[in-house]
């Protein structure tokens, strides 16, 4: 009966996919290096293959010795620990480019934070028809359990890892907003540490901005959230444990910030306060940087069978006695179907024109979009809205007929669970692979910290599709990485 009154999708249908060639970060159209890459190019030529081979081996050995690893899951779900894949040739971003990226990321995170505050309180964005209410209420990550809770300083998205790509025109576009528990920052730092160690001569030719201070910035932001004040703040990183694929990062960040690393069983809630169990008794915790998904965070509120979380932590948060980073419920803001509305969200809350554009996105809840996508599946990337890490995705051009048929069924059964995007030819960059300079596609995940103010670490994790022609950069899917240099003004 009411279907006729439902809001129409606010996002307009995107144009047909482009077939242009990928933008090259390193080369200009005439196959000469871009201006800011020339010093590096000269050095590569001067160094020669023998030296670069040695540097690549040294990088691998360093990462191996330092224990910089990640877990690759096979089809059998048996985790395989691998040394972090790293290409020695850095990606370079000019100061002017970075200025725009930084401003765009700050704008986006500020708007998304306002969106979350609104969704969990007055819901004016829904009342005003900016986002269709069905999109939110059918979103897996919309958490009714936290309605009307006020997080410290009204901040939900303390840490963001926003994935950027560069399209065929060379424009930076936002590919995904990762606002739950984005990972990869430890690898960003380790990449820099290794790069500095093995290629110090590169750094002599550039004024590269630092990224190593990320843990200090994060610690500062976490302290700011402490309900008992910054000086008294006790902070803990809550990890699911050693079997989690990002466990390396959890230990890394706890160590670098000098805070406790704890599992759910190491904490207890009492009188709406969270405590760490220590050899000297219970110690109150003020800020929990959780790397545990919402579903597992509190068995009293979310999944009852969770043994990874802390029973009562949501009540402590509700009472204002602890800050949880990122705030529970943040996932709805990086739902890929909500992502399509990000430009409208920015305009609505900030009254500003979006600085960073979105990748055109088709909503599978829209009948017209859905028909178009199903008719052109081999030219599309289909993504499950609440998945990350490259899971639940169909890469149309390289898919089999069987895989496409499977996705047609999935989309028809649950259209809200999927979006589709035209295949964007991610930009390319040279990599040093097996003694050759080869071009590979890549993206960029810069990290944004929202504390007293919003800060973007100048750099990020550049993820590289290591297979020739592949557009899949996720490390969980066999992707590699590069150090990312942002040049000083």
């Amino acid at each position: 009966m009411l279907r006729q009154y439902q809001f129409q999708s606010a996002a307009s249908s995107p144009p047909p996919p482009s077939r242009a060639t990928a933008y090259h970060e390193f080369y200009q159209d005439d196959f000469h290096p871009r201006e800011h890459y020339r010093p590096m190019w000269e050095h590569i030529q001067h160094a020669g293959q023998h030296l670069l081979d040695a540097k690549a081996r040294e990088a691998h050995l360093t990462l191996h010795t330092e224990g910089v690893t990640f877990t690759l899951y096979s089809d059998q779900d048996e985790g395989i620990e691998r040394v972090w894949p790293f290409d020695i040739l850095p990606r370079i971003i000019t100061a002017a480019e970075w200025r725009a990226i930084e401003a765009g990321l700050k704008q986006r995170v500020r708007a998304m934070n306002l969106l979350l505050k609104d969704l969990y309180h007055g819901q004016n964005v829904l009342k005003d028809g900016v986002i269709p209410p069905e999109l939110i209420y059918q979103g897996k990550d919309f958490r009714r359990e936290i309605m009307d809770i006020d997080p410290p300083h009204s901040i939900y998205t303390h840490i963001g890892g926003i994935d950027l790509i560069r399209d065929e025109r060379g424009c930076y576009l936002v590919l995904e907003d990762n606002l739950r528990t984005p990972s990869g920052v430890s690898y960003m730092i380790e990449n820099r540490v290794v790069e500095r160690r093995i290629l110090p001569e590169f750094f002599e030719r550039y004024r590269v901005r630092r990224v190593e201070h990320y843990p200090a910035l994060l610690l500062q932001a976490l302290r700011y959230l402490s309900p008992r004040g910054e000086e008294a703040a006790t902070i803990a990183v809550l990890t699911p444990g050693q079997f989690n694929s990002a466990y390396f990062e959890h230990t890394f960040l706890a160590k670098e910030m000098g805070v406790e690393l704890a599992e759910g069983r190491d904490m207890v809630c009492k009188n709406d306060r969270v405590y760490l169990k220590t050899t000297k008794g219970l110690r109150q915790v003020d800020v929990v940087y959780r790397r545990v998904d919402d579903d597992f965070l509190d068995p009293l509120v979310f999944r009852r069978d969770s043994v990874l979380g802390v029973a009562g932590i949501i009540n402590a948060w509700r009472a204002g006695n602890v800050a949880i980073v990122n705030a529970p419920g943040s996932g709805i803001a990086d739902d890929k179907a909500v992502y399509a509305h990000a430009p409208d969200i920015i305009r609505y809350y900030l009254g500003e024109t979006p600085i960073l554009e979105n990748v055109p996105t088709y909503q599978m809840t829209d009948a017209r979009d859905r028909t178009y996508v199903l008719d052109n599946l081999e030219r599309m990337v289909v993504k499950a809205v609440a998945e990350s890490g490259g899971y639940g995705m169909l890469m149309g051009p390289t898919s089999t007929a069987g895989q496409r048929a499977e996705f047609v069924k999935k989309i028809q059964e649950n259209p809200r669970n999927y979006i589709a995007q035209p295949v964007v030819q991610l930009s390319r960059h040279i990599c040093y692979l097996d003694g050759e300079l080869e071009s590979r596609h890549l993206d960029l995940r810069p990290f944004v910290i929202y504390g007293r103010d919003i800060q973007v670490v100048p750099g990020g994790l550049t993820r590289v599709a290591m297979t020739k022609g592949s557009l899949i950069v996720n490390s969980s899917q066999g992707g590699g990485s590069k150090d990312t240099w942002v040049l000083a003004e």
Partner: protein
């Protein structure tokens, strides 16, 4: 009507447990149909229970017992005045404007979308189940109140109410195979039909007048039943707001009902939710004893 309500919750374990956290939805709150005159929660050996409202506005009491223990007992006492003398006494909206009224309500209060859109196996889309069951369809021009009545009657015909049953069928399909269920099951079935029409319908639980559990005077075989919490369906009726429909009794909810909690389905309003460490979770025994007395 005035009711004095006593709800006694007990849980015991074969072996000592610790870090025992308990959330209870037993206490009624003020709303348009009832007023809380007094309310208190008592628990032995537990510090003062804390209270908050959940995402649906339901009052929730939280308790924690850290030390090893093998039993926990909590009592809720409340005195309530119910106000809904005649649930049909409201200014109706003409049938041709009812959908517009609901649409505007959804626009002004987007939280209502939960009660239109949500589906789970217990409130599944009947048409999608493909059971071949003739499901009631909306009739344009008829008042919604009248139509919901008809659907409630249909639920009563499709599924018998078993007053002794306290379980909730997790799947609507199973319920329709058995054709017999608890008040919660029947409420789910009513919700399923109404959400299929796009009408906001929510699951409600509460206490009912003790007369509901007294034997039928005309039937010598019936025996007094132990008092239980009751489940019914709240429907957003144009002009009236939320009105309850109890398909187990075939009644529109009136002053004989005391609302405790509302949600999308039974899982949202469970009376108790607990976690603890130690002991065997499957070896715990829980009981909820309810005593409602009409005081005027």
């Amino acid at each position: 009507m005035r009711y004095r309500i006593r709800a006694e919750y007990r849980v015991s374990f074969d072996e000592p447990v610790r870090e025992h956290h308990l959330q209870l939805r037993l206490a009624p709150a003020d709303d348009a149909s009832q007023r809380v005159l007094s309310r208190r929660l008592e628990a032995e050996g537990v510090s003062e229970p804390t209270r908050h409202r959940d995402g649906y506005g339901n009052p929730v009491h939280c308790l924690a017992l850290m030390a090893p223990h093998q039993a926990l007992s909590v009592e809720m006492h409340a005195e309530i005045e119910t106000l809904l003398d005649n649930p049909l006494d409201y200014q109706p909206v003409s049938p041709d404007r009812e959908l517009q009224w609901i649409s505007e309500s959804l626009r002004q209060a987007p939280r209502l979308w939960d009660f239109v859109l949500h589906r789970c196996p217990a409130t599944a889309d009947l048409a999608a189940l493909g059971l071949g069951l003739p499901v009631p369809q909306p009739r344009p021009g008829k008042a919604l109140m009248e139509q919901v009545h008809s659907v409630m009657d249909w639920v009563g015909r499709v599924c018998d109410f078993d007053p002794a049953c306290t379980n909730v069928q997790p799947q609507l399909r199973t319920l329709l195979d058995k054709r017999c269920g608890s008040s919660a099951d029947l409420a789910h079935l009513l919700i399923s039909v109404l959400r299929g029409w796009g009408i906001p319908a929510r699951f409600a639980t509460g206490y009912v007048d003790p007369d509901f559990f007294t034997p039928d005077e005309d039937d010598e075989d019936t025996r007094p039943l132990e008092q239980q919490m009751r489940a019914w369906t709240d429907v957003l009726i144009p002009g009236a707001g939320w009105r309850g429909f109890d398909p187990a009794k075939g009644l529109v909810v009136n002053q004989s009902y005391v609302r405790v909690a509302v949600g999308r389905h039974a899982e949202d309003v469970v009376a108790d939710r607990a976690t603890f460490k130690g002991g065997d979770p499957s070896a715990s025994r829980r009981s909820l004893r309810i005593e409602v007395v009409a005081s005027s």
